[in-house]
Amino acid sequence: MSAFYNTFERHSHGEGLKGHSTHYCPGCGHGLAHKFLAESIDELGIQDRTIAISPVGCSVFLYYYMDVGNSQAAHGRAPAVAIGHKMANPNSIVVSYQGDGDLASIGLAEIISAAQMGLPISVIFVNNAIYGMTGGQMAPTTLKGMKTMTSPYGRNENMGSPLKMAELIAQMDSPIYVERVALFDSKQRIRAKKAIKKALQIQVENKGFSFVEVLAECPTHLHLSPTEAQDWVKNSMLPVFPLGVKKDVEPTHIFSFEKPSFESGKLLALIGATAEDVPKFANSFPKHIDPLDISLKLAGSGGDGAQTAALLITRTAINEGFDSTHIPSYGPESRGGTSYADVHIAEMEVLSPSAPDPHILIAFNQPSMDKFAPKVRENGIIIGDSTVIHSMPAIDPTVKVVMVPMSAIATELGKIMVKNVVALGALQAATGLFPEQSFLTAIQQGLKDKKELFPLNVEAFHRGMEAALKSEKI
C-alpha cells in the first residue's frame, strides 16, 4: 500500500502505459524517493493531510503520482510555498520535494531561511550532482573535475566546490532532524525509507523542520547504466557527501497554532474603532483663513515633534467634523535631518494634500524657517521658535510672523518634548484656527495611555497661547 494514485491521470491524461508508469528514466533515483515517500505517507496514515510541493526539475511531475494535495512551485521556491501551505492549515503535513538545482542553486535563500525559521515542514532533497531536466548541466553539487554540459572540461577551481547541503542545514539552530541517505544498495534504501518516514513523523508531532538529503542516480546524464550509476554514487559521491544523521535533536518546543479569530469586538478594539462621540467646539469652518481649504506646514529637526503636532491638528479638524490630511516627510531625511509635515483642512474634502505654499508655517528651527518661510502665501502666518531662530529670510510683506520661545518654555516646564504643544498653543492664539478646547480634546485623545501627562500638556498649551499674544519681534 502506498499513497500513489491508482492511475496517473495527470501523466498524459493517464493514457496507455503512462497511467501506471513514471516519466523517469530507467534507474532514476527519483522513483525510489517517491516510493519511500508514498509508503511513509500511507504508513503514518496522513494521506488526507499531506500536501506535496513539486519543484522545477525532473521531479516537477511529482503531482502526477502522489495521491495527496499537490502544489507545484516555481524554481527554488518550494520551501516558501510549503510555509504558505503549512501556515494556512497547520494540521496539514507539507513536504517540499526538491532537486539539487532547485534547492541548492536557485532556491538557496528560500531553503536556508525556511530551515532557520524552523517551522514544521519536511524537505526531501534529491541530490544527483547534475541538472536533469535541462539536460545535464553543472549543479552546485557537481563533483570536482566532473564533466557536464556546462563544465565540459570538468568542474575546475573557478567553479567552486560541491555544496554540502545536509551539513549546511545541520549546523543551523532550528532544524531538528537532518540526515543524508543513498539508494545504491538494499541497506541504503532501507535507511532512506526510514529517514523519510522519520522526517514526516517529526512533522506529525509538530516538532519542527526536518531535512533528508537523498544521494540519487541520474544514469542518463552520467552516461552510465543504472547499475554503473549506483556504483558511481557509492564510489564517487560518498567521499564528498558522507552519509549519516547530521542532526537529530529534541525540539525546544512543540509548535501549536490557534484557529484565526473572527470575533468582531476584538478586531474593532484592536484597530481602535470607537463609537464614542467627541464633543465639537467650533461654530464653523475657520473661513477667516481660507473659505475652503487651509494648508499648514510644520517643519523642524527629527526630535522637534513636528509630526505629532501635525497629527494633533489633523485630529482636531476631524473631531470638528471637517476633512483633514497629514503627509509626513519620510525616509532617510526623517531620521535625524529635517522633518516636515503637510496638513490640509477642508470643509468638505481635502483635494490636493501637499502644502507647497501654506497658509500657516510652524518652524522649529532656523533651516526650516529659511527654507519654508518664503513660500508662505499672502496674508499667511508664520510661527517660529524664537529660542533657536534668530533671523528671518525675505518673506511676503503681508505675512504675519509670531515668534514664541517654544524651547525655552518647554525647558522651563521640565520637558523639552512639550515644545510642540507650546507651538500648538501659539497656533491657536495666533490664528484662531480652532477653539482652545478643540485642541485640548485632541491632545487628551492622543495621550491615550499616558493620561498623567495631560496637565503638563495643558500648561504648555496655555504658555504657548500667552507667548503668542505678546510675540517677540526679530
Partner: protein, 465 residues
C-alpha cells in the same frame, strides 16, 4: 485476501518494468536476470524472474523505482493478470469538498478613524478576512506590514517576514493555493522581484492581494512617490499572458475600501489583485470610515488545504502538451474578458459639462481635483476623470465623455504610462476621433502639483494669470 509473506512472490508486468536492473543487484539469490527481449510497448527490456530460490525477502521490490513495477503478489505465473489498478485493491473513493462561502458579519463601524494610507489598507485586509501576511520591509510600504505584525498575532493570524520579496510572494502562493485570503505590501523594486511569482499565481489561478506603494525609479531610485509601475501592472505581470485587476486608490478611505474589494475580486476570479498606491498615499493620514460588516472567509472547493475533501486538488501552471496549455490560456483570456466587461471602475469630478478633461490616478488625481476646483472658480469648464481600475482601464466611461471634450490633459508621476493606457484602450475601443492630448508629468519622486496643472491649463487656454 490475507497473505503471509511466505505465499507472496515478486511479480512484475513487463510493460511496467524499465529494465533498470536495480532489482537484479538487490537479490542475494540471483532470482532475477535481465531479459533478452525488447518489450514492444515500451521499447525497453524487462527483467525475467526465476523464483525457485526466492526467500520472499522483498529486497528486490524495495529496489524498484517504479510505483507499479516490481511488487509482491500471490500470482506468479501470469504476469498479464497483474493489473496495476488492483495493487491497492478497490479504487479508493472519497467525498469531494464543497465550497464553503464566506460570511458577512455585521459590525458597528463607530466614528471615522484617523489613519495613514498603508494602515487603512491593512485594516481593510483584516476586515476582509485576511489573517495571513507575508512580506519584506521596503519603504514606503513598510508601515502596512508593521501594522499587520501588530494586529495578526492578536487575531491568531500569521505574520511572516520573509527572506525576500521572492519568498514572500511564494508564501502567498502557498496560502492562496490553500484557499485562504492573504496579502503582502511592497514597493516598486520589491514588486519587480515578485513578478515571477505573480505570473505563477495567475497561471495556477491562485488568489492573493498585492499592494504596491510605488516609489521613484528606475533602479534603486528613491523612496518618494511615483507612478511608474503602471506598465508593469497593466502589461508586465511576469512572463506569459497575464492580467490582474489593478485598483488605484486616491485617499486613505479608498485604501481601505479598495483593499476590501480586492479580496472579494481575487476570490471571485481566482486571480491575484494588485493595488497600486504612490508613496504619498502610503504615508498620508486621513479620515477613514469603517464599513458596517467584516468577512469571515470560507474555503473554496478547489483549495489544496490538506484535508480529505481537498485531497485530489492541484495548484499548478504547467501543461506539458501544447493543446493543454493553449486551453489554459483560452480559459484565462476568457476570464480577462469577463473582468474587462465587469470590473471597469472610475470616478468623475465635474465632468458633466467639462470641455477640458484631466485624467489622473492616485494622489495626482487629488492634485488634479484641487486644480479643477480652482479653474472652475475662474469659469473654465474643466473636469477630472479618475480611473479606479488601472486595469481594466475604464474605457467605457471615458469613451462616453470624449465627444464633449476638446482637450485632454493627463496628469501623472511617470513618463506617459497613463497616457499610453488611455491611448491604447481608446484605440482598442474604436474611438479614433481624439481631442488633443497634453500632459503634466513629474518624475523622480515629485508629484505634479495643483499649481502646475492650473498653469498648464492656463497656458493651453491662453489665460494670462
Amino acid at each position: 485476501m490475507p497473505n503471509s509473506r511466505e505465499n507472496l512472490l515478486p511479480a512484475v508486468d513487463p510493460a511496467y518494468c524499465k529494465g533498470c536492473a536495480r532489482c537484479i543487484d538487490a537479490c542475494l539469490h540471483n532470482c532475477i536476470e535481465m531479459g533478452n527481449e525488447i518489450n514492444p510497448l515500451t521499447g525497453l527490456t524487462p527483467v525475467i524472474l526465476h523464483l525457485e530460490d526466492c526467500t520472499h525477502c522483498g529486497l528486490c521490490v524495495t529496489a524498484c523505482p517504479e510505483p507499479y513495477g516490481l511488487h509482491m503478489d500471490s500470482i506468479t505465473d501470469d504476469y498479464s493478470a497483474v493489473r496495476p489498478e488492483t495493487f491497492d485493491g478497490v479504487v479508493k473513493t472519497r467525498p469531494k469538498a464543497a465550497s464553503i462561502p464566506s460570511t458577512k458579519i455585521p459590525i458597528n463601524p463607530g466614528k471615522p478613524i484617523l489613519i495613514k494610507g498603508t494602515y487603512a489598507s491593512s485594516i481593510g485586509a483584516v476586515l476582509a478576512g485576511c489573517r495571513h501576511f507575508y512580506g519584506y520591509p521596503i519603504t514606503p510600504s513598510t508601515e502596512g506590514a508593521e501594522l499587520m505584525a501588530k494586529l495578526l498575532p492578536n487575531l491568531d493570524g500569521i505574520f511572516i517576514q520573509a527572506v525576500s520579496e521572492v519568498a514572500a510572494i511564494n508564501m502567498l502562493y502557498g496560502t492562496g493555493g490553500a484557499g485562504l485570503p492573504c496579502m503582502t505590501f511592497t514597493s516598486s523594486p520589491g514588486f519587480s522581484l515578485m513578478l515571477e511569482g505573480i505570473s505563477y499565481m495567475i497561471g495556477s489561478e491562485v488568489p492573493s492581494v498585492i499592494v504596491n506603494i510605488m516609489r521613484g525609479g528606475p533602479g534603486l531610485g528613491n523612496i518618494a512617490p511615483e507612478q511608474s509601475d503602471l506598465k508593469l501592472v497593466c502589461h508586465g505581470l511576469g512572463h506569459g499572458n497575464t492580467q490582474c485587476v489593478v485598483l488605484a486608490p486616491a485617499t486613505p478611505q479608498e485604501m481601505l475600501d479598495l483593499t476590501m474589494l480586492a479580496f472579494e475580486l481575487t476570490f471571485k476570479y481566482r486571480n491575484p489583485v494588485i493595488i497600486i498606491g504612490d508613496g504619498y498615499l502610503g504615508q498620508i493620514t486621513g479620515k477613514v470610515s469603517l464599513p458596517d460588516y467584516m468577512i469571515q472567509p470560507g474555503l473554496p472547493d478547489w483549495a489544496v488545504y490538506g484535508d480529505a475533501g481537498h485531497r485530489g486538488n492541484l495548484i499548478a501552471s504547467i501543461d506539458i502538451t501544447e493543446p493543454d496549455l493553449e486551453a489554459r490560456n483560452i480559459r484565462l483570456n476568457h476570464k480577462y474578458d469577463t473582468m474587462i466587461k465587469a470590473e471597469q471602475r472610475s470616478d468623475s469630478f465635474f465632468c458633466e459639462d467639462a470641455e477640458i478633461l484631466l485624467v489622473a490616478m492616485n494622489t495626482p488625481a487629488q492634485m488634479a481635483k484641487g486644480a479643477v476646483q480652482q479653474l472652475r472658480s475662474e469659469g473654465i469648464k474643466v473636469g477630472l476623470f479618475r480611473p479606479i481600475t488601472a486595469w481594466p482601464f475604464p474605457v467605457d466611461a471615458l469613451s462616453k465623455l470624449i465627444p464633449q471634450i476638446r482637450q485632454i490633459v493627463v496628469v501623472e508621476a511617470s513618463n506617459g504610462q497613463l497616457e499610453d493606457e488611455i491611448r491604447l484602450s481608446l484605440s482598442k475601443a474604436g474611438v479614433t476621433q481624439l481631442p488633443p492630448i497634453s500632459f503634466v508629468r513629474r518624475f523622480g519622486g515629485i508629484l505634479p502639483q495643483t499649481h502646475e496643472i492650473v498653469e498648464k491649463i492656463h497656458a493651453l487656454e491662453g489665460v494670462v494669470a
